[in-house]
Symmetry: C2
Subunit: 448 residues, 2 copies
């Protein structure tokens, strides 16, 4: 594969850049046309790579791209999952180059989606192409590439339920996660789930002059701050009633195994330029993101936010709040518990609305499976180090759904790094990770 | 004056509308040209009304309009203060008509500035015109109309200091406040001061994926909410250290006098559509806005605030926070105390910046003065009820400055009503208040 990458390097970059140039932001209505354009481009790439069939399939939301190559029905089948939609780019002013005009700087591709997930799914298409063109493909391969991962995959579960036969496979192979560090490859064997809500707190029925009413009428921003502040206690516990009821505490043995992952807290703080970390009492930083649930405000707004000063006592205040969940916490239940709790703590002088956004459950996958073993061998060969089994803090809620619907375990071979700052300005992906990923994926097929 | 208003009604409206059509938003750089246009238009109106001299005077910021008519230097001089700048119009989508294209609906003019303060200062120009044209003006009159009241009058104090001789007068007459209700005229004999700051809380040095870092890294929005929440305690007291040190407690007698002002708490709650009021323990609603200081968040923003969901753990969160002050609290001192307090409560895992915006002291004026007595008589004649002396919750910080610089007391004959929703969408001004104001001002000159 190394040789093949060298020979085809420029074409690979041209093809990947053609994907990155399409602003397929799934959450914004105005990019609806771009979603279709991106899906069509993927069909072309799959077909050119050697798929027997590849097409755009409509769903209730953004379309799904499905393609396959059947070598021999009796051979094992690998279902590759990826997503071609990307996060919004704001704050756009912090980007050093156009998010939709990829640039290579210091050995990395800078663009929205460079890693998440266009860059990572592209590795699968190229590894597949290599195996087809060199006549070494010994598996049936299926691709399912969705356009709604960043908005919680509202359509894919239904589409998968309706197309169970088409998606039949032995393993779901996914590259949409990170490794522990450049020198420490890892394979994700669990992801957190997600519950995401938007809240609206209404005080008076109109914006008021803060001089005339200030001190006498509850200010919905102050009240929202009070309410948010009460959601996490002094020890970093989420106070939503029932929040921890279904959380399975890890055994001391499992916690010890996890703690073997190399982690330098000083490097971590330096990377983020923070003096102190903060989280749930009694857990390490890796445990806080790996095995413990949490609550974060992802956005807040209300009142006057323009330049200068405006003395307004606003009518409403809003926040987007998400909770990361661990296996056994049910996303729908947590969303309901949050809504009940948030309404129960609302004081008399405001009205509160809670609107659920997307959510999804977490999951765990067995380290003992043949697929995990094959991935381990492949990564060891590429990196010269045995990969560490890790627990991902992020969420790919649809994977828990696909696992349930199709009865197939996912395997997460992710090649992203912390430095890639996915979801943030200046998302990037190291070329050496792009190439290492292609190699490791090709080797996975050899050992699986 | 009644007759004069009837005869000239259409011209009056045309002239006022010509002012309201100019979007003189002082806080927004893009309206700089409009500020000049509005100042020029006022010079025209003053000149047409009968001023000997009227001109636009540059300042370090938006220009000042000054004009005068000298009848006889030995007669008393009235200095009319007003401001031609207006508040921003957002949220623009809540306006039922263009904020800068005035409309009359149900006996009220709807436009930004209809009341605050273009409508109210216009009454003074027309009362002056009436006195001039009918040969009944027995005072020297000076007009000082500024373009920076809504941003804290950063330039007028310096301009007034440099032009003390020009501004020499016996009383500062101002219409920029409200009456208690349509049927209960009142004269403001005190205003609250203001301290206004902007705060910025920085956590990690970049936006992060909330899945990868959530639970382990302090979220600046959550931290900002914690900090804001701690600024007001359970009893509604502001917790900023030293905040109440200089507040003079009113005597039981004074509180009893204030409580005589008619006030219906049920009507008040219904008007605002709130179930409960909220404020400092031990004080009534009128006291909370009249004689007690308070703290309000005027704006808050951070993270993702667009449509849909984005799982970001943001790098920064911002808020605009203002404190209304009562006489004897020094605005600069309070701003400093706030800054010290806010920094002192910042946890180790964030960085905090505090930027002061404008501020100003409160003031009190004597009810026993001849000017107050003249205003009282004038309003009694127009409304058929003796006006109530009231304490305004809002702030006109420049008046405390002018009082100090020029050594003249201000007199606040305001004709606004709560229903006018100044600073909010659909600002309006009742035509009958516009006309009653003109009459009362003309009568003030008769009795002063």
């Amino acid at each position: 594969m190394k040789q093949y990458i060298q020979t085809n390097n420029q074409r690979f970059l041209d093809e990947l850049f053609s994907l990155l140039r399409i602003p397929s932001v799934s959450s914004l209505e105005k990019h609806k046309g771009d979603m279709h354009k991106c899906a069509e481009r993927l069909v072309e790439l799959l077909t050119e790579a050697g798929a027997d069939h590849a097409a755009v399939y409509p769903t209730a939301g953004h379309p799904v791209v499905y393609g396959h190559k059947t070598v021999d029905p009796s051979l094992p089948t690998v279902l590759v999952y990826g997503h071609y939609d990307v996060q919004p780019v704001d704050p756009i002013e912090l980007w050093h180059s156009d998010p939709f005009e990829p640039e290579i700087r210091d050995g990395a591709i800078y663009a929205r989606g460079a890693n998440d997930d266009k860059g990572q799914l592209f590795m699968h298409i190229k590894a597949f192409e290599f195996l087809v063109r060199t006549g070494t493909l010994k598996h049936n391969v299926k691709f399912i590439l969705e356009g709604e991962e960043e908005i919680g995959s509202p359509s894919l579960a239904a589409w998968a339920s309706a197309n169970k036969e088409l998606l039949k496979a032995d393993i779901i192979l996914v590259s949409d996660t990170t490794m522990i560090s450049e020198s420490v490859p890892s394979i994700n064997c669990g992801m957190r789930g997600l519950s995401y809500v938007e809240v609206k707190v209404t005080g008076p029925n109109k914006d008021l002059h803060s001089g005339h009413y200030g001190g006498a009428v509850a200010n919905p921003i102050n009240v929202l701050c009070d309410m948010i502040s009460s959601l996490i206690d002094q020890d970093g516990h989420v106070t939503v009633k029932g929040f921890y009821d279904e959380v399975v505490e890890l055994s001391a043995e499992d916690r010890a195994k996890l703690s073997r992952a190399p982690f330098d807290i000083e490097e971590y703080k330096e990377f983020l330029d923070i003096k102190e970390v903060k989280g749930e009492k009694g857990y390490t930083t890796l445990e806080r993101t790996g095995i413990r649930p949490c609550l974060d405000v992802n956005g807040i707004w209300g009142g006057y936010t323009g330049e200068g000063a405006k003395t307004v006592l606003p009518s409403v205040a809003h926040a987007k709040i998400s909770m990361r969940l661990v296996p056994n916490q049910d996303s729908a239940t947590i969303t309901r518990l949050f809504e009940e709790h948030f309404k129960s703590i609302a004081p008399d002088y405001v009205k509160v609305e809670v609107t659920p956004h997307h959510g999804g459950d977490g999951f765990l996958i067995p380290i003992s499976s043949p697929a995990y073993k094959a991935a381990e061998k492949a990564m060891t060969e590429v990196y010269g180090v045995e990969p560490v089994p890790s627990r991902g803090g992020g969420s790919i809620p649809i994977l828990a759904d696909l696992q349930r619907i199709l009865g197939i375990d996912p395997l997460l071979m992710g090649f992203g790094l912390e430095r890639d700052t996915i979801h943030s300005p200046n998302e990037s992906y190291l070329l050496k990770q792009l190439y290492a990923g292609m190699e490791a994926i090709a080797l996975f097929y050899r050992y699986y």
